[in-house]
Symmetry: C2
Subunit: 148 residues, 2 copies
DNA sequence: AAAAAGGGGACCAGATTGGTCCTATTTTCA
DNA sequence: TGAAAATAGGACCAATCTGGTCCCCTTTTT
């Protein structure tokens, strides 16, 4: 599976919404959830994680909510994924701490590691600024003639 | 989650193994499974799918098994994933047939589609030949100065 | 006839995921 | 001062996905 989880989707949506509606004030989860039809409680959890990750800040009480703490230029897709679903790796054995049955006689570990490095580099360079509506940039890297 | 499923892992391992041990003959699932400590029945299913996808061919009976039908140069990681776990998309709404609650007022659909296109292009250009042991190629695309 | 192999359906157990519920705490405001 | 609105976060649940097993069938070789 190469899918985004709902948590990640919701997180990205919320960050973009905060950016778009940012008037210096705080936007409550309720508003974001309603605008984008996201289950409110779930979005709450997501925002908590983004707070812990340092991308947004919150205040409680009336007129409370969340606000962006970093410009989207400094928020990468990779970091968002990481804060919402943990470290990214294509196979468990790519995570140093874990291993698999195949262990040594594995003929795909190294190439998969290399693919993963590519992937990681890509999503860690891709900022949410490039997700803004109307952003002209095509969100892709240069691809040589051959995929080497 | 951006993970490979076990099915995909096993499929890649088997294809590489067939390539490495190819002496024109057929290699039975049992052998591949034992060499790489893969559950035999599960690998059986995987091989069946790869057969239907046209990458390997099989014969039954004694001395039967599987053999590569296409050189690894013509087998891409993208296609292997597709044959083993269906179409690749980052979010359900990227699959035309499906939709999501957010539908219209979704602020991430387009950028995610663009990211997905990039990803698809990458894995559909990446061939298993580049997975061969000792392959010198670094398995990555050229990356410009900025991630555009 | 027996053995070895693939084809494939049925099924199951554990993990993951998406989502809800509830309570506590903080802040604002009437 | 008390109600309302908001975040913080633990507990939990239901549905789905995944990895894996089991069983039976057909084909091929010996």
């Amino acid at each position: 599976m190469l899918r985004f989880s709902k948590r990640v989707e919701y997180g990205l949506m919320a960050l973009l919404e905060l950016d778009a509606s940012a008037n210096g004030g705080y936007l409550p989860v309720k508003d974001i959830a309603e605008r984008h039809e996201i289950p409110q409680d779930l979005l709450g959890k997501v925002m908590q994680a983004l707070t812990r990750a340092g991308y947004v800040a919150s205040t409680k009480g009336m007129h409370g909510g969340y606000r962006l703490v970093q410009p989207l230029e400094r928020v990468t897709v990779g970091k968002v994924i990481e804060s919402l679903e943990g470290p990214v790796y294509l196979t468990p054995c790519c995570d140093d701490s874990k291993s698999c049955r195949q262990q040594d006689h594995c003929n795909i570990r190294r190439p998969i590691l290399r693919v993963q490095e590519h992937l990681l580099r890509y999503i860690s360079q891709l900022t949410l600024a490039e997700f803004r509506e109307g952003d002209p940039r095509p969100i892709e890297m240069n691809i040589g003639e051959q995929c080497v």
